[in-house]
Structures are given as C-alpha cells and as structure tokens.
Symmetry: C2
Subunit: 350 residues, 2 copies
C-alpha cells in the first residue's frame, strides 16, 4: 500500500476556528482551465477622478460633499445594510422554523487615502499606520454605542470582489448581534480557553513558528501565515504575537508593526501575479458587548480569489456550496511561494 | 416609534438547517450598481461541437473516447479531487490544532444530453426523467462501495459558476466522510427528529403551504419554494412532500414529479432575465453509511448568483465572508417574482 503524503494525496483538514473541514486535493493542480477569466484592469487610474464619489471635494449621490481630506476619511454609508432607528416589534407570529428579528446598526465607509489610485501596498508606512489608527478609533467610537455589540471592519478590493470603485477604501458594518462567523469563532476560542486557560491562536502560532513551513513573514509583534486549514488558494492570516482581544488593546508599537505587516502581505500579493491583487480582508476581534473576552485573540483574514494567474480565480461553487470548501494547491505550497516573493513592490523603482 | 416591517427594515433570519443567521436588508435594493458585470453568452452553441470533450464520439484529454451516447452518459472525472486508492497512514504527528486525514472517493461527470446546446429547461420531460434515474442509479451504485459514505450530486451551470464547458452536465463527488455542510444539515435534522419525532422539513413545508407567500410551484409530490432563510437573491429549494431519506426511496411517480419540478424551476429561472440562468444546484440526502437515517428529508438546493439582471450578480464578499450572509431583495419578493413567471420557456414557440 502506498504511504499517505499530504502534499500529493487528497485529504481533509480541520479548521478549529470554525469547526469545519476543508477538502485538499494537491494532485489536482494539473487540471487545465478553459473556463471564465477575469478582466485585468491595466488602465492606469488618475490620482484624482472627478466622477469618483470618494475623491476629496466631490459630491456623492445623496448630495453630500466630501471634504478636502488629507489622510483617512470616514463617513456613513449612503446605502447602508443596517439602520440606526429602534423599531417597535409587535407580537412575534413567526414559528420555530421561521425566526426573524430586527437588526440595528451603523455602516461606514473608510477612504484610505485622498489619492484615487493609491492602494495599501503602494502606500508609505505612515499612511498605513493612519488607517490602523482610524480603525482603532472607529472600533472604540462605534463600540461605545449602547446598541452596537459587534464591529466588523473589512475591505473588498478589486472588481472581482464586488468592489465598485477602485478608490482605496474599506467598510465597517457595526451592529447589535454578533454575526454568525464571528460568533462561531468566538465559541471555539472560548471552548479552548475554558478547557486550557490559553488562547487557541497563541498556542497555534507557537506551533507554526516552530514548523516555519506556513510562515510568510514575521516582525516583532505580528506574524503573517497561510493557516493550516486555509480554503482560498493564497489565503493568509495576520496574528498578533501578544494575546489581546481587540484594536482597543493595540499599543503604539503594535500599531506600527501591524501597519508594517499589512504592507508586507499586500506587497507580496501584488508581486505574486504582478497585478493589483484582489481580496476581501477583515479583522476578527472581541465584540463590544461590554463583557470580558479573554478568549479572543486579535487577527485579520485575507481571502483572495485568484488561483493561477491575474485572470483565473478559484470558483467556490457546487461542491463547495453544498459539501465543503475545497482547494487544490496546498497551504504549504502557497506559503512557500508567498514567503519567497520580494517585499518591494514590483512597480516601485527601488 | 416606527413599527418593524420585515419587507422594509433590516433584520436577521435563522436557518434551522445550518444553524446560521442571514442578514436581510430589503431597503438596500435601491443601491446603484457601477461594479463588475458578467459577460452574457448570447452566442448560439451548435448541437455538436468537435472541440467539446463531452460531446459523443469525441476524445478527452486523457485519450479516452466518449461513446456515441444517446441519453445520459456517466464517466469518471479525468481530474478528480478524490482518489480511490487506500493509503497507509503512519503515526499522526499533527497536533490538536493541525488535524488532517486522508480522504478517499470517486468523482464522476454526468452528461445530461448528447446535445451540446440543450440545457435542462429546454429538455423534454422524459429527458429530465432520464437524468433523475441516472442520479438514482449512481447514488445506489456509488453508495454500495464499502468506503463511500456520502454521495454529493451537483451541477455548476454557467461560466459565472466556474463551469468551463457549456455542454449540459453535472458532477458527483462521492467520498468516505460526510462533508461539513451536509453533516451540519444532518445534525440539525437529527436534533429536531430526536426532539419531536418529526421531519423538520415536513413540518416546515406544511407551514409554507399554509402561508403560500414563499411557494413558487407545487405538484403532487414536490414543492418549489424560496426558503425563509435564503441567502442568494433567487435561491430556491425543491422539497419532497413525502418524508423519505434519499434517491433510493424515490418511487416511479415521484421520479416523474421531481423531473417536472426541475423543469418548472429551471424554465422560470431562464425566463427571469431571458438568459440561460446560471446556478449551482445539488441534492442533500441521507449518507450511504449503512446507518438508518429517519431524520433525513430529501431536498435539492438551487444557488443562483444573479441579482438584478443577466449581467449583475450578488457578491458574497467582505462582510459575507467574515460576518454572515447578507441579502437585499427579501425572500418573499423573490418568491412572488418567480411564482408569477410563466412555465413555458421564453425561447419556445408554444
Ligand atoms: O470540476 P470543474 O467543473 O472543473 O470545477 C468547478 O467545480 C468544482 C466543484 O464545485 C470546483 O471545485 C471548481 O472550483 C470549479 O471550477
Ligand atoms: O457595499 P458595496 O461595496 O456596494 O457592496 C459590496 O460589499 C458588500 C459587503 O461585503 C456586499 O454585501 C455586496 O454584495 C458587495 O457588492
């Protein structure tokens, strides 16, 4: 009988954060691709676009005018998925199997830079630090509302990720409930913490640092790695070395180190296929529900769709929607490729 | 205080099959769209394409030649995600937080028709019935293998769903483990069955038939509806009226009725945006692990990506990947639109 080899044979891996499995098929990378390809946006954007509703000084669709902002600019989303108003709920007639409840919240847009064409990987460290500080401030400000119990900070980058405007920006959806995936993460972090008195991600990070094979980059306070259970081809996680729960606990040195790691990972991403690399990213951290959360360990996920090139993505479809996530290239292969890429942006002259 | 109205105000709904919530923002449909649009394939395909590796008589990339098949044709996937071989696993050195295990399985491709350009909505009822019979036979055949405990039957339709060949076909991934989503469904069906002695989906279907507002179509043995907790804009479910566990239990009358319902739903889908409507669909049913599964209730999911038109899809990205699924148009609005569409295909002359 042939010996099982995880870099050659199909297997499943367990995600302890979500209590889910992923199917890994490393032998499947040879599959030819004749399907849909993404358009590549090679058109250079100007630094200012008079038709962009995020550029400084421009007027948005609701008539509001953006100030002439110079660093980050935050405003409430003009088409929010959540509303602030408290509503009167009359007798719940829905059944056990048809449960619904109103949800309150505040949606914000965070412009990362006044420059229409400047994405994170091409920013100065100080500019990225300003984004980190803005996120922290927003987490504190939104979390202070009595009715806001969770603050989801995220970025959709690139048209393929549903982003409708190339102007560098992210979003914040803050709300009364803890959304399903954050709650599941919390449940699993908490179960581990109750059992061992330790942070699951601290223990995990120690093991990863020992192995090194999935580590991409490391500085004094943060590590970038491809998680053992990654589902997207080049999925990564930024994990803080120190065990703390949220942006509120981030110390000035850690802000700098976090900004640095954001730069490193996004530069490597752009260098991978020599393109402005699309992804959805977001921070998972403690809720703002006023309860103690020693189980939470601050981290950030990057979910990029590209698989083979700047135009061929991984489709999470049929089997993935009905069965479970499936990947071809293994986490270790992906980590090796990302680790070996330069930390200088391919477009920069240095 | 304003009264809460689920067709106007943001709320969350509970999915009892997956024990997850979905965020519904019915007020958000007015949002303008300036983002990525899908290409529409209006080019007419020929009935036979000499370059298609699924057409009868053609040679596939591994040198195998397809027979001159006349109805359905099933073969083993040339680029399988799973392998049949049993492998020797030596001492598991992985930690608690890095669990993996080999996974065995068989992947098959099911050509629905010899005609390169004939999708399900344009087939005769008898041709769709042949697909249903093929699925049933495959479920029985694959399930009979000692090492196959679960059989996932699915279809990816359309380039936007990662389908690389327009020739009408689906896939079957059968394997040793029950994949995460099917297992979660089973756990929830089982918990309900243990508590009440009833099928969750039977009780749910009764409630839906009483309300009627999410019902799209009904025949003697099957119902098509937009589930209360749907996440995709035009997501639907086909549920059998009778409580049975799998295709193995499907009676001849039910095969016909199931084929009829497949035709009805896919015709309505094509009629919605007058396009060959993309989706991923798949059957959820009892595992083939030899255990009794009275909790299982046969059903089929349709997950279509389109939102506003033949070219604008819903992006499940940032918030959805990190928080939870989010939808704009409500399940009731979607059901009304689908219900009112004709059951005659827009391209047919009748
Ligand atoms: O097997 P195919 O059709 O080449 O591939 C398609 O379906 C598979 C199963 O849902 C996915 O894993 C692939 O990402 C998708 O492109
Ligand atoms: O708010 P935007 O950028 O218009 O919209 C984008 O991000 C949202 C949050 O992830 C998604 O719900 C939308 O489907 C996507 O198009």
């Amino acid at each position: 009988m042939q010996k099982f080899n995880s870099s050659k044979h199909p297997h499943r891996r367990y995600n302890p954060l979500l209590d889910e499995w992923v199917l890994v098929s490393p032998q499947r990378t040879k599959r030819p691709w004749q399907g849909q390809e993404e358009e590549q946006n090679i058109a250079q954007c100007p630094e200012y676009d008079k038709d962009c509703y995020l550029c400084p000084g421009n007027t948005r669709s609701n008539g509001n005018k953006n100030p002439d902002y110079e660093a980050c600019y935050v405003f409430e989303n003009d088409f929010p998925s959540l509303l602030k108003e408290e509503l009167e709920v009359t007798a719940d007639t829905t059944s056990n199997l048809m449960q619904s409840k109103p949800e309150r919240g505040i949606n914000k847009v965070v412009c990362f830079s006044p420059k229409h064409n400047l994405t994170i990987p091409e920013m100065e460290l100080s500019e990225i630090e300003a984004i980190v500080k803005t996120w922290k401030q927003q987490y504190l400000e939104l979390g202070a509302y009595e009715f806001i119990n969770y603050v989801q900070i995220f970025e959709n980058k690139g048209a393929v990720m549903g982003c409708s405007n190339p102007h560098p920006h992210g979003q914040i959806w803050s709300q009364s409930s803890i959304p399903s995936k954050a709650e599941k993460t919390q449940d699993n972090l908490n179960a581990y913490y109750q059992k061992t008195g330790k942070s699951l991600l601290e223990v995990y990070l120690d093991e990863e640092l020992l192995h090194q094979e999935r580590i991409i980059a490391e500085n004094e306070h943060f590590v970038a790695l491809v998680p053992f259970w990654a589902i997207w081809p080049y999925e990564t996680m930024l994990i803080s070395k120190r065990h703390f729960a949220s942006l509120a606990d981030l110390q000035p040195k850690e802000e700098k180190a976090f900004a640095h790691m954001l730069k490193v990972i996004t530069v490597k991403y752009d260098n991978l296929f020599k393109t402005s690399f699309p992804y959805s990213s977001g921070i998972h951290q403690a809720p703002t529900d006023g309860l103690p959360h020693p189980e939470w360990h601050f981290h950030m996920h990057f979910y990029p769709p590209l698989l083979r090139s700047a135009t061929v993505k991984k489709f999470m479809v049929g089997y993935e929607m009905l069965g479970e996530a499936q990947r071809d290239i293994s986490a270790e292969q992906a980590a090796k490729i990302l680790r070996e890429l330069p930390t200088t942006h391919y477009k920069s002259s240095n």
